[in-house]
């Protein structure tokens, strides 16, 4: 009998995941700005403080370095800590603690000390916030051994991946997208987990594989629908986690379609898009019927003007145009 489904927003799916895991694991402490009685800048902790109290939902001043270091130290001593940077941009203030302390501790201690800390933040350009509130630099974390990097695209993935991330024994960089918080989708009525490292095939296709994460999954899906009308059948694959990366499922899709385009809200240089292209070359070079394509944000700091900002980030129109051009060759 199929499980009952219900509609929920991305942000509320995250709140549900937190509520279930905080009920299950009494050692979880949540640290960050405005996550207590206010319920989070994005409503991402709404109602939790009332249920779990200010002991476990600890508001802080504006000091990401300190809050993150404290969260990591709490995790090292036996708590499970969540630190909410609110904007991914602000995690830069805390980078030394994430990269130099959290990521190394398990390895350097020969597996004796674990740092089960979840670093939560929201990325991406939305409503012309400009360069200090719009970045997508997940690649910096992904290139650091010892960190897992999770980028959910839908309410279903948000809930299942957040719950699984809160059961990991290592630091997890959990990056949501600001533009997705109010999007809606269906999730099962009951509890469920999604393992890290399993890509999701959003749409099956024959002619080209579109790999995308987070908000770009939705751009890819819209582009695929438009391409379908032109007779181009695109398969849309969302790895859902950058680390670990589901190399097998991505490669299997490329073997099937013979073509690859990666759609990435980050710039192309040394990034996620290049990693997927490298994967294609390493795993299934002979299956490629054309050079892999990268459709990425332009390598410019995020501009403020709406007209300029829309030029930078991959749009449905740009994806359709570039894929069409690839297919014509």
């Amino acid at each position: 009998m199929p499980e009952q489904l219900r509609e929920i927003s991305y942000v509320d799916a995250g709140v549900e995941a937190l509520r279930e895991e905080m009920q299950r694991d009494a050692t979880i402490v949540y640290i960050g700005q405005g996550i207590g009685p206010r319920g989070g800048n994005f409503r991402q902790t709404r109602g939790l403080c009332k249920e779990f109290g200010e002991e476990r939902l600890r508001d802080t001043g504006i000091c990401e370095l300190g809050a993150t270091g404290v969260a990591i130290g709490a995790a090292m001593a036996g708590s499970r800590a969540i630190v909410d940077e609110v904007f991914l941009d602000f995690s830069l203030e805390a980078m030394t603690q994430i990269i130099q302390q959290a990521a190394n501790i398990c390895y350097s201690s020969n597996g004796k000390i674990h740092a089960p800390v979840l670093v939560r933040s929201a990325m991406g350009a939305v409503r012309n916030a400009g360069p200090h509130h719009s970045h997508c630099f997940y690649a910096w974390f992904a290139s650091t051994p010892g960190l897992k990097v999770v980028t959910p695209a839908t309410p279903y993935d948000e809930k299942g991946l957040l719950k699984s991330s809160l059961r990991e024994n290592c630091p997890v960089i959990f990056i949501e997208h600001k533009a997705l918080y109010n999007t809606k989708g269906m999730i099962p009525e009951g509890k469920y987990l999604i393992p890290l490292g399993e890509a999701r095939i959003h749409r099956e296709g024959r002619d080209i594989t579109l790999v995308a994460i987070s908000k770009m999954v939705h751009i890819a899906l819209e582009a695929a629908a438009a391409l379908e009308k032109e007779g181009i059948s695109a398969e849309v694959v969302d790895p859902r986690t950058i680390v670990p990366l589901d190399r097998e499922r991505i490669a299997a899709s490329i073997r099937k379609t013979g073509r690859l385009a990666v759609i990435d809200e980050a710039p192309a240089m040394c990034g996620f898009s290049g990693e997927v292209v490298a994967l294609a070359c390493e795993e299934c070079f002979d299956a490629l019927d054309s050079p892999p394509l990268r459709i990425c944000s332009l390598p410019v700091p995020s501009p403020f003007s709406p007209r300029l900002e829309s030029q930078v980030i991959p749009s449905v129109e740009r994806v359709v145009k570039e894929v069409r051009k690839l297919m014509e060759n």
């Binding site: 402490v29 270091g69 969260a71 001593a77 350097s108 201690s109 597996g111 000390i113 010892g146």
Partner: protein
């Protein structure tokens, strides 16, 4: 056990403090020798001259209490109870230490002894210690956490943010600044206008205490008060121990490009180990035989540690990718 004031301390405790300080001193001089002979890889920062601080503080701690150390951390590890042979094996990159040769001098961990790590990043341990104290408070473990750091850390953001968190959340943590007057080559008086570290405690509304870092009894007493306050729910204390490293910043730095020889010699004349030895023999009437017995035993302990570390196997290359995530 103590009878009250530092001057009335139990003889056994005094002898224990003497033994531990001597262990730290002899250990570091041996490390220096082994390093100069090219046997130890990496970089080492020696604790010679500062022994009274680690020993004075850690002699008040329970085995389950936690400490966070610095790049100059071999002494902290020994004082917290990590066996000397394990510390030396780690410096040698051998597989038999707690960290299995993965960490080395500046990334050495032995949580089974409450030793939560040396650290290559100045100031980082202040925040980690504060967070561990939060965990102890939330889980009601009764643990106290000590953060050791140098004067080089106190002008960093980590110091400010850590002490602010420790204070506002009333955490069971003690902040111990080993003010040895130089951050690498930078004199503290050149780095900051307010050279009294303890006075900064007022900014966080926590007690600040300055102690003579060459006087292990004074440090023991100051630390005891801070640790008792933390354990009983009274929140953090900032202790500033005025101390000095007799060696350069790291092994290989002569330490005299930015310090005068006179200054170094003056501090050496106040050596905490020599001072306690004289106090034991002259003021407290300890039998010379007892003191010399300790000195012989420390040498035996050190020789055994060297033999253990030297003969220990190196890590298996096949384990290089173990423990990245768990």
């Amino acid at each position: 056990m103590e009878k009250g004031a530092a001057g009335q301390m139990d003889m056994n405790l005094l002898l224990t403090l003497y033994r531990e300080m001597l262990q730290l001193r002899e250990f570091e001089l041996k490390v220096q020798e082994l390093y100069r002979r090219g046997l130890l890889p990496g970089f080492v920062h020696l604790y010679v001259g500062e022994e009274a601080v680690a020993v004075g503080v850690c002699s008040n701690l329970h085995p389950t209490d936690l400490i966070y150390s610095t790049h100059r951390g071999h002494g902290h590890a020994l004082a917290k109870g990590v066996p000397g042979r394990e510390v030396l094996a780690e410096l040698w990159g051998k597989s038999t230490s707690s960290s299995g040769g993965r960490g080395g001098s500046m990334h050495m961990y032995a949580p089974e002894y409450g030793f939560m790590g040396t650290n290559g990043i100045v100031g980082a341990g202040i925040l980690l210690a504060t967070g561990s104290a939060l965990s102890a408070q939330l889980r009601k473990t009764g643990q106290v956490v000590v953060a050791f750091f140098g004067d080089g850390a106190v002008n960093s953001g980590s110091f400010h943010e850590g002490l602010n968190f420790g204070a506002v959340w009333n955490l069971p943590v003690v902040y111990v600044c080993e003010n040895n007057l130089y951050a690498t080559e930078m004199a503290f008086r050149r780095a900051t206008k307010n050279t009294s570290v303890q006075s900064r405690a007022a900014a966080y509304k926590i007690p600040g205490v300055e102690v003579n870092g060459s006087d292990v009894l004074a440090i023991h007493a100051a630390a005891r008060a801070g640790i008792e306050q933390a354990r009983s729910g009274g929140g953090p204390t900032l202790i500033e121990a005025k101390t000095y490293r007799f060696q350069g910043h790291h092994e290989g730095d002569p330490g005299t490009d930015y310090r005068t020889r006179e200054e170094v010699e003056e501090w050496k004349s106040r050596c905490p180990i020599k001072t306690l030895r004289e106090k034991l023999l002259n003021d407290r009437g300890a039998p010379l035989e007892s003191v010399e017995q300790i000195e012989r035993e420390v040498q035996q302990w050190l020789e055994a540690a060297v033999q253990f570390a030297r003969e220990s196997p190196e890590p298996e290359p096949s384990t290089v990718a173990d423990h990245i995530y768990s």
